[in-house]
């Protein structure tokens, strides 16, 4: 396998958790609620997967528990932001801090124990024989295929169905949506919860496909990178696909360069994804300074019926 093929495979495997988390963030923020808890949710998803998988040996059960636990946290986030109208920034931050504390606490006993298996790969038969593509495609696991399918589904949902129209209406102008008979609170609760569950699944994917044991703080800021990617992707699932794989490539390129025997200290190579996130966001801010950024209009403002504007 040549360098490019290896890099592509690594980019997709590192990019899948980012993609899932970004899609979760897009769903949440399209409904008008800021999602800054991604880091904590990913950690909770990862630790739940590890604990259940090691204890029960059942992968499906592990994934379902991860989704259930993070969905529950999503309900908490919606309760704070939608019902109590609390500060959405602080609520997300609380989620991150609580998630990293709780995951470190409950994950301590299983820290460093290898998982009984990784996520299964689809057997594609003939496709595997195709030279380069087959090599890449043959290595994709179930969650990667699921994330790809999800990109398509979410794209169609958001832009081509009446549900998506309702979602966008709630995110852009909840007052109008309310007048039109759309249940703003219900929609916000549903999408925040679904988004949180997806971010939890991203955490699960991280331990299954990427780092096959649990370690404290395992996500190392990838949840925050996903928060940046939501902006980078301009709240659009199709763009999210490219952005996530681009960052997946950045994430793995440092390691690849190191393998090639580069003289640059590894610490600087590890900085690449973090520094590039900032630079890319700065570039986007500069380029879009006079253009709409794609931000849902009412992102971060709680909706209060009967409030005069």
């Amino acid at each position: 396998m040549d360098f490019t093929t290896q890099l592509l495979i690594a980019a997709i495997s590192a990019g899948t958790p980012l993609l899932l988390a970004t899609l979760g963030g897009i769903l949440t923020e399209r409904a008008g609620i800021i999602q800054l808890g991604a880091e904590g949710l990913m950690l909770m998803g990862a630790v739940t997967t590890c604990i259940v998988y090691i204890r029960s040996g059942n992968l499906l059960l592990a994934l379902l528990s991860a989704v259930a636990i993070t969905a529950l946290l999503g309900v908490v986030h919606s309760f704070l932001c939608v019902t109590l109208r609390a500060n959405q920034t602080m609520s997300g931050l609380a989620m991150t801090l609580f998630g990293s504390g709780l995951s470190a606490y409950i994950g301590k006993p299983i820290s460093g124990i290898p998982l009984p298996g990784t996520s299964p790969k689809l057997d594609l038969g003939v496709v595997k024989q195709v030279p380069v593509i087959g090599e890449i495609v043959g290595r994709l696991d179930v969650l990667t295929w699921f994330s790809l399918l999800l990109v398509l589904v979410l794209h169609l949902l958001i832009h081509h169905t009446s549900w998506g129209l309702h979602l966008r209406a709630v995110g852009d102008n909840p007052a109008t949506a309310d007048v039109m008979g759309i249940r703003v609170q219900l929609i916000r609760y549903s999408y925040v919860t679904a988004g949180a569950a997806l971010i939890g699944l991203a955490g699960a994917d991280m331990v299954l496909a990427y780092a096959p044991t649990w370690n404290e703080g395992l996500t190392a800021g990838r949840g925050w990178i996903a928060v940046g990617l939501v902006i980078f992707a301009r709240w659009n699932p199709l763009r999210a696909l490219f952005c996530a794989y681009f960052f997946g490539a950045l994430d793995s390129i440092g390691f690849r360069i190191q393998l090639l025997g580069s003289a640059v200290p590894p610490y600087f190579l590890k900085m690449i994804p973090y520094v590039v996130t900032i630079l890319v966001l700065m570039y986007l801010g500069y380029r879009n300074r006079n253009k709409p950024s794609g931000t849902p209009e009412s992102l971060g403002t709680p909706y209060i019926r009967e409030q005069r504007f």
């Binding site: 609380a94 990293s100 504390g101 966001l281």
Partner: protein, 371 residues
């Protein structure tokens, strides 16, 4: 409460009572009630303790035993109490910096990185100017530490003001960059040649260490913290800058119409915020660890966010909350002796913040009986 003219207070009109129902309760939301009562922080701490008691019990331990152990470890002995105070110093300095920024809704979560570069810059002084007399060495370390922290803060402020980049993302990404840079220097160029190959800078000389109180580990950084609190309190109350800051915090739109330059203020608060965290980093290496190494901060920068929020960004309240959380960190270490991970204190911190932000809002709701 009737709506005040000009305010955006909301009183829901009572719905007509449905016939045949003997009750008619409704939840009333009043957004004009912005001052939360004193008991919400206390209540949120109690509720967080109860929630985490559940997790501890699920782990097969008695929550009462664990909490008693933590309390004893942090405040029960004079050694424990000075340790608590030692931990409170960086929390106070970082928390103060965070409070300054949050006052005008600049969400700096990069205190961890700002503290780290502060510590690195202070160590750079000891490495490149090893033979300075005590006074000048400390002063130079302080200046370098502050400047490095402020520069790190500036790197968060400028993308926000000139490129519209969310400061949360920038400041957090810079935390990871700072920690990797720390790894680089302690494994690479600044590694102690006599350190048996352990990562870390050479141990500071007495001239490069902050004075301590008697034979304890409590160092003069506490005075830095208290002076900073006093200065901040006075400047917020009595200067034009403080007035403008309060105005932006209270009503950003009004502040903009009054001709206050928001971008300038974002840059100033981030310089102060980073600078204070930088001082904390300098005090940590020079006063506590006496050398630069990995893990100089057990997440002070993140804990300080909760410290600041629990104090409701009030400088005097910060003194109380930073001692409380210093105790929480020390208590977290002391439960390790009975086989529990110290991350128990992180879990408690996160839970406290959760209940705190809910508590900030809950008093705005009232249950009323409809007429």
């Amino acid at each position: 409460m009737s709506p005040k003219p000009g305010s955006d207070s909301v009183v829901l009109k009572p719905l007509p009572m449905r016939s045949g129902r003997w009750y008619s309760l409704r939840l009333e939301y009043d957004s004009s009630r912005t001052r939360s009562p004193w008991w919400t922080p206390v209540l949120s701490v109690i509720l967080a303790l109860l929630l985490c008691a559940g997790f501890i019990a699920a782990n097969g331990m008695s929550p009462l035993v664990v909490y008693e152990k933590m309390l004893r470890g942090a405040f029960g002995t004079s050694y424990g109490f000075t340790e608590t105070m030692v931990k409170a110093i960086p929390l106070l300095l970082c928390g103060l910096g965070i409070a300054v920024a949050y006052r005008i809704s600049v969400w700096n979560i990069g205190a961890e990185g700002q503290l780290t570069v502060g510590a690195m810059a202070a160590t750079a002084v000891t490495i490149y100017f090893p033979d300075l007399p005590s006074f000048w060495s400390i002063v130079l370390m302080l200046v370098f530490g502050t400047a490095a922290g402020a520069l790190w803060g500036l790197m968060t402020a400028v993308p926000r003001t000139h490129f519209g980049v969310n400061e949360l993302i920038t400041s957090l990404m810079l935390n990871y960059v700072a920690l990797l840079a720390l790894d680089y220097v302690v494994f690479g160029p600044w590694k102690d040649p006599k350190g048996f190959n352990f990562p870390g800078s050479p141990v500071f000389t007495a001239a490069q260490s902050l004075p301590v109180l008697g034979s304890t580990r409590l160092h003069i950084g506490l005075v830095f913290g208290l002076v900073a609190v006093l200065l901040y309190y006075l400047m917020i109350r009595f200067t034009r800058w403080g007035y403008e800051l309060r105005l932006i915090g209270a009503n950003p739109t009004a502040a903009r119409y009054a001709g206050i330059h928001l971008k300038k203020h974002i840059i100033i608060v981030m310089l102060i915020s980073g600078g204070l965290a930088g001082i904390a980093g300098m005090a940590e290496v020079s006063g506590v660890t006496h050398k630069l190494m990995q893990g100089i901060s057990p997440g002070y920068g993140y804990t300080a966010i909760i410290v600041a929020w629990l104090a409701k960004l009030n400088p005097l309240g910060l003194i109380v909350t930073s001692i409380l959380f210093g105790g929480l960190i020390v208590g977290g270490y002391s439960v390790q002796t009975i086989g529990l991970p110290s991350s128990i204190s992180e879990m408690l911190q996160g839970a406290i913040l959760f209940f705190l932000i809910a508590g900030d809002m809950i008093h705005r709701f009232r249950i009323r009986r409809s007429a």
